[in-house]
């Protein structure tokens, strides 16, 4: 029994080493291929987000009084990009990482976890940079519930991996699922995830049309964790957790029963 536990722990430690090695390699590759080296890995998505933020602030987006509009928008845009990038990479990453499967110890799931880890690091750094810049500018720091912000961020990563892996495996059997998921991630989410509106400002009867989207819960909970006075009607962490663990659980079940198919077909 104890030997079995040791073997499981060793296997787990090995997988962590593999995922970290793949993430480091991916990071170095991006740095070598980009124009600004290591900094470019963070600054390129940051520049894209800042452009979007500047545009929205210039056209005087309807925002809320409870938070700085920059932070309010940054929460939405960063979480959307984080979710989209992880989920899209999970959808397409197996094909791109095919070369790595030359080494028997590397499995498709490891490459997906590695790219999720990089995206999480990059987007967490962007959020921290924007938050620290705002704190210096106004010389005040407000982060009412850092624990909730961290949990929300991690659960969003789990949700993105779950949705991406589920769509990848189902999409292997039914290709239209891949196309629809890509459409959903690129178009539908932008307008239903609360990037440009606050849920409490929506009339009650309209809310069910957007609150099905777990990413809206993630964005609004992050804003609420920064300022606890920010109201979040019909938004709950329980719903986000349920969606994340259900999608991840189903994704992993689908993945393990179809791993060989993913390796041979692509």
């Amino acid at each position: 029994m104890s030997r079995k536990i040791v073997r499981i722990l060793n296997g787990f430690a090995l997988q962590i080493r593999i995922v970290l090695a793949l993430a480091d390699r991916d990071f170095l590759m991006r740095a070598e291929k980009g124009d600004f080296g290591v900094w470019g890995v963070v600054f390129e998505p940051l520049a894209l987000m800042l452009t979007l933020l500047a545009l929205r602030i210039l056209v005087r987006v309807k925002t809320v009084d409870l938070m700085n509009p920059l932070i309010w928008l940054a929460c939405g845009i960063t979480m959307l990009y984080l979710f989209r990038k992880i989920a899209i990479k999970a959808l397409t990453g197996v094909k791109k990482g095919q070369r790595m499967f030359f080494y028997r110890r590397i499995r498709p799931l490891d490459t997906l976890l590695a790219s999720a880890l990089i995206e999480a690091r990059v987007h967490a750094s962007i959020l921290v940079m924007i938050f620290v810049s705002e704190a210096f500018w106004f010389w005040r720091i407000q982060l009412d519930d850092p624990g909730l912000a961290l949990i929300d961020f991690l659960v969003t990563v789990v949700l993105a991996i779950g949705i991406g892996v589920s769509a990848l495996v189902i999409g292997h059997r039914i290709p239209i699922v891949k196309t629809l998921t890509k459409f959903g991630l690129n178009r539908l989410l932008l307008w239903t995830s609360g990037i440009f509106f606050a849920t409490y400002q929506l009339p009650g009867p309209l809310r069910p049309y957007v609150t099905w989207n777990p990413l809206l819960h993630s964005v609004e909970i992050l804003r609420h964790s920064i300022n606890n006075a920010y109201p979040i009607p019909d938004i709950s962490l329980d719903y986000l957790l349920t969606c994340a663990f259900l999608s991840c659980g189903f994704g992993l079940i689908f993945y393990f029963s179809n791993e060989a198919l993913l390796l041979s077909d692509d």
Binding site: R17, I18, L20, A21, D24, R25, L28, M29, E32, K33, R99, M100, F102, Y103, R104, R105, I106, L263, S264
Partner: protein
């Protein structure tokens, strides 16, 4: 009784050839590789032997049948694998060390790779794409000989004899001896002396099937009596299917002088 580490069960592998045709490389292969066994491979076609090695290390998929692998198996040594030319030798070495190396011996293993690859000064920290073909080849050999596997799969590209640099040749032979001592070995090489030195058993593959299995000298004799005379015809057939553009010096499948 020794444990079975790799087991082929009615394994079939085909390769696509021009004009939409396919050719059978392995046909209904059933074979077990036990712990500590050292098995040499003789074959009428080097592609069939290479396919056997690739399937044993799970690098290539099968069309039908199954290969059960119950051990830590190497890639067909000394293949380049998935190393990236954009990264430096050190970065590539660090990556593979994290996956196959011992966690507490990172620095020592990377230093050993650098020593065994015998690169020119400063090249280890340059992108691999800037290296010459021979340097890359040496780096591949060094990477193959550093990590500990239960089963070593050795292909015909392995630079066993490097007559021009006897000192470096002995360095590689020493490292190889140390690695395979007490381990399981599956070896295919043009140099029969090399196979005979390490393998006490051998198989002969003829037209994709195992035609003979037994002790090394018996298999060698059988191969020379029944296969090697007709081998030239198969090699010509192999050549017909090969795309002439793919046989660059760098990707040549034969053993090359690396030092």
């Amino acid at each position: 009784m020794a444990r079975t580490l790799i087991e082929f069960k009615r394994a079939c592998r085909e390769e696509s050839v021009p004009r939409g045709r396919s050719r059978c490389l392995l046909k209904n292969i059933s074979l077990s590789l036990r712990e500590g066994q050292k098995l040499g491979v003789f074959s009428d076609s080097s592609k069939s032997a290479q396919a056997l090695l690739e399937c044993a290390s799970e690098v290539a998929p099968l069309q039908s049948g199954k290969v059960d692998i119950r051990a830590n198996v190497s890639w067909p040594m000394p293949s380049r694998g998935a190393l990236d030319g954009v990264l430096t030798g050190r970065q590539n070495a660090k990556f593979l060390q994290a996956i196959y190396g011992k966690p507490g011996e990172r620095r020592e293993e990377i230093a050993r790779i650098e020593e065994l690859a015998a690169l020119e000064t400063g090249y280890f920290d340059q992108p691999v794409k800037t290296w010459g073909t021979q340097m890359r080849g040496r780096f591949d050999v060094a990477l193959s000989l550093i990590f500990d596997f239960d089963v070593y799969i050795v292909s015909k590209k392995f630079p066993w004899s490097q007559s021009s640099k006897p000192q470096l040749e002995s360095l590689v032979r020493e490292a190889f001896d140390r690695r395979v001592a007490g381990k399981t070995l599956l070896l295919f090489h043009q140099d029969e002396e090399f196979i005979g030195r390490y393998c006490d058993e051998a198989i002969v593959i003829k037209k994709g099937q195992i035609a003979y299995q037994g002790d090394f000298s018996g298999a060698q004799k059988w191969f020379h009596c029944n296969v090697s005379k007709s081998q030239n015809d198969d090699d010509v057939q192999d050549q017909e299917f090969e795309d002439s553009s793919s046989t660059t010096v760098e990707e040549s499948e034969d053993e090359a002088q690396l030092w």
